[in-house]
Symmetry: C2
Subunit: 256 residues, 2 copies
């Protein structure tokens, strides 16, 4: 099995290192990841400037390919120009911090898996519910190593990815694995206004995440101590609203 | 009616100018837009560095606020720190080039409207099906000025936006307005490998768009000469796959 590993925290982050190490025992791993932090980049693609690729070493040994771009760039470029053969699976992570609810829209980790599944490769995004620098990724990496062969045996349709979140608690407190729905948690954020030495204002985004407390949501199950797995699609037409729009009387010559 | 206007092509682009001019007759317009081109940024937020805001003039008159960030940043910052009152509507565009099918995932134009509706403001993304620099935005701007008051009279639920595409053909050839589904068109793209003067390779994304030819899709109706309106949501759980996953036997203690 050929596994493409990427992330959004950058190729030098501990999360991708733990992930790549754990997946070595599962298949042939190639790491292609951003050369620097790319959090909250959404599904960005680099189109205005070209990409560069540099070999990246870790502990004195070749670790992967560092790309001067976004997570989605990494997957696209890996398939088109770096990997000699198409991978069987794309795994993106392990992200520092949960990717649940509305965060899926902003997440670079998820966007890499999105690009993977859009290109027809079964893809997983995996995140650990811990923002701290000394987070322990061991267990989350083992969850990935457990899930990847299972995914390889099943069919995941093009355009659908698996979004996995792992609680950052001692292993013996984890309650198990649950299939979860995307919650409706949101960021309660605002801009902090500061002033530079010349007295000019600048604005820095700050805030806290308000998780969805409904049972069955990714947010709530994760908080309760479950590893959550959520299938994510990108069929974005709102069919209820589509029918509603037909009653507005806007079709026809009106605005055209 | 208070209207927030933004885009992803940058505050100096002709599309946002035509849009803001046309909406002056409809409500009180405030322009808050990126200070430079932000195409294909997806739903990126700037978190690692602060944002700056500069007044921007056009034809010697105040035009709007130029933000050193992404389209989503612009909407968030406008609501939190620039506008004295919440806007009634967010309009993002007019984009140079269609935003249909898979492009919605990459589009900065759409991401601004996404941020608007996530923040509870009825929001529209509008694009003209023409990439050329001398595209005529007049008619697309009139479509926006027609649709905004209609939207203001109706209810658009939080989390749903209207994605509008306008054909770039003479007005008398436009067939009318149609409610459309997001198509399944895709980019057939690849990286062109070039070499710098030192002989080192760099990779530039290039390719062409393959529109969805199914009747009723945004792609096809737009190609046929209709103004298309598609309601877009972000409830990303794939419920069919969720039920399928339950049959994989992965819930429980297995991977945890």
């Amino acid at each position: 099995m050929r596994i493409l590993v990427t992330n959004d925290d950058g190729i030098d982050s501990p999360g991708i290192y733990a992930l790549a190490q754990a997946l070595q025992g599962v298949g042939e791993v190639t790491v292609v990841a951003p050369n620097q932090q790319q959090s909250a980049v959404g599904h960005a693609l680099t189109v205005a400037v070209p990409l560069r690729v540099h070999p990246y070493e870790r502990n004195g040994k070749p670790f992967g390919h560092a790309v001067t771009g976004t997570p989605a760039d990494c997957v696209k470029l890996a398939l088109d120009a770096i990997l000699p053969e198409r991978p069987d699976i794309v795994v993106s992570g392990i992200n520092h911090g949960r990717n649940t609810a509305v965060s899926l829209i902003y997440s670079g980790t998820v966007s890499a898996a999105t690009e993977g599944t859009l290109l027809g490769i079964p893809s997983i995004a995996i995140s650990l519910d811990n923002f701290s620098l000394d987070a322990d990724f061991t267990h989350a990496a083992e969850v990935a190593a457990w899930l990847v062969p299972i995914l390889h045996q099943h069919h995941l349709p093009r355009g659908v990815l698996l979004n996995v979140n792992v609680p950052a608690i001692p292993r013996d407190q984890i309650k198990g694995v649950r299939i979860a729905e995307q919650g409706s948690g949101f960021w309660n954020d605002r801009y902090e206004v500061r002033h530079d030495p010349m007295g000019r204002p600048y604005y820095w985004l700050t805030g806290s995440y308000i998780p969805d407390g409904h049972s069955g949501s990714d947010d709530q199950l994760l908080t309760e101590g479950y590893v959550t797995i959520t299938p994510i699609h990108y069929r974005l037409t709102d069919h209820t609203m589509l029918e509603e729009l037909r009653t507005w009387g806007i079709e026809g010559k009106g605005g055209a």
